[in-house]
Assembly symmetry: C3
Homo-oligomer: 208 residues x 3
């Protein structure tokens, strides 16, 4: 099925870079949704399209893994990297879907801030996987991983202040229920980016 849009020749690095590019596209889409203050049919179909491409790419990694004897690094690490990069995108689809199901129809500045932070984090993830192609880039890959970890800490604080503000100001319990879930999901995207950075770090250590 992934053959529809994947070139017949590819290697693991191409596939990981593709996942990174898709994550960046998903984050841009999420930011637009946050700024527009709701999910229209266009945005929803765009996000689902990205998710399908990411699923196909993940399957391509696994299929490639089954056919390949020599891999650039541990088979298990390749598997984890692909599936956790897929999780980043899935979590952004989950947020999009939640905004729709919860019938959110106003822009929320805090969600816009989260979306921008997510954009920064997935961009750093993309740079890290791009750098993995060559051992001489190990140091810069490591720097991108440090940046992803830093952004996760920023995200933790952002979620805490978003929740504190929500419980302080919002008097409508239904709105509290909705936004609590959305803020937590947003922070979870950054957690998963950190997991990806951790897998990349592990790979670097083994190759050092």
């Amino acid at each position: 099925m992934f053959r529809r849009f994947l070139p017949t020749e590819f290697n693991f690095f191409d596939l990981f870079e593709r996942m990174g590019v898709l994550a960046v596209e998903a984050a841009a889409c999420l930011r637009k949704i946050a700024e527009d203050g709701g999910v229209d049919e266009n945005a929803l179909s765009r996000m689902r399209q990205i998710e399908h491409k990411a699923d196909d790419t993940t399957h391509a990694v696994i299929e490639q893994l089954n056919k390949t004897f020599i891999t650039p690094f541990d088979r298990e690490d390749i598997h984890r990297l692909a599936s956790e990069m897929d999780d980043i995108i899935d979590m952004m689809t989950t947020i999009t879907n939640r905004l729709r199901v919860y019938q959110i129809s106003e822009a929320n500045p805090m969600l816009v801030s989260f979306a921008k932070l997510i954009e920064e984090s997935v961009h750093a993830v993309l740079c890290a996987v791009r750098g993995m192609r060559e051992r001489k880039h190990a140091r810069s890959v490591s720097d991108f991983c440090v940046e992803v970890n830093r952004l996760e800490n920023v995200g933790d604080e952002m979620r805490d202040s978003a929740l504190a503000e929500l419980f302080r100001r919002e008097k409508d319990p239904i709105a509290v229920i909705k936004w609590k879930d959305i803020y937590q999901d947003a922070e979870t995207v950054l957690d998963i980016c950190e997991d990806v950075a951790h897998v990349i770090d592990t790979i670097l250590v083994k190759q050092a």
Copy 2:
């Protein structure tokens, strides 16, 4: 402890089939609870009994695994299959318990629909593990796994429309809190069935 109700001679396929049968019994029990609109002492004790039997069967798989040199497929896959089948049943116990703790006392047509979908899914899981005994059934096992995946997608849509309806109609925030949890738990049962189907698929691929 599991010796109380397990025959002294058994093999892995018997144990997996037993888990499948227990999952089908738990799903029937859950549907009855949903239709009755609440958990009475009988239903609760029936569900707990099924859960204990499932725990014992899972322990039997692990004990058997420790004593057996040659296994029909990867030891790790056997372990995962047993523990994820156990998770299916645990999640149904969680729902039962939640209905009781949340003092739900009216029938909810949406929960009945979920319970019926869960019944279909665990039935397909049972058929899949039954078919694993013989390699010539590989194709039908695979079909049952496809069916479990299909039902998970149906479950996703069911949860989304259940939640959308809940946020649109329900004005009592406490009722929103309760039913949101219950619908999400119900969908999680289908997620775990999909995980089981995925393990079975992996086993089939390795044996092909």
Copy 3:
């Protein structure tokens, strides 16, 4: 970084015991917070300090693991034991943080009961890891693991009755949202202690 407070000579058992001691300290801190009915700056900074020490100790285990050829038990089990002991402490930090973000400012007897139960459980975990140093203590280690499992069951019942009471008595939906999360987090600490006991059990079985 962990060199700041770790002796230069240490072994895995020392590190696990250190994690156990930190878990006991975190539990005492959590109980004090629960009794005081809120998180002040002192308590918050104390809990974060413990969390940092636990992180450093976990990293020390992993670094030691990378440098050591012969380990007292499976490398993977050492890794899991360290990371799950770290999770115990992380979960207590999560609760502390949640109490602060949710602006809880009254003592809650149920939370005090949970904190006492957590203290008992982490104390049993500490005794279990202490006993792992010598094979002749295997039986008492096993007894401590049984105790951790028992306390997890007590915790399940405590959470159920806390939630049932909450839904029965509390009319403010925002308070329901807050305490539901807190009780569930508290029970999760006991779940993670049970996971740790399970890892220890696995190690004992392999060494028998």
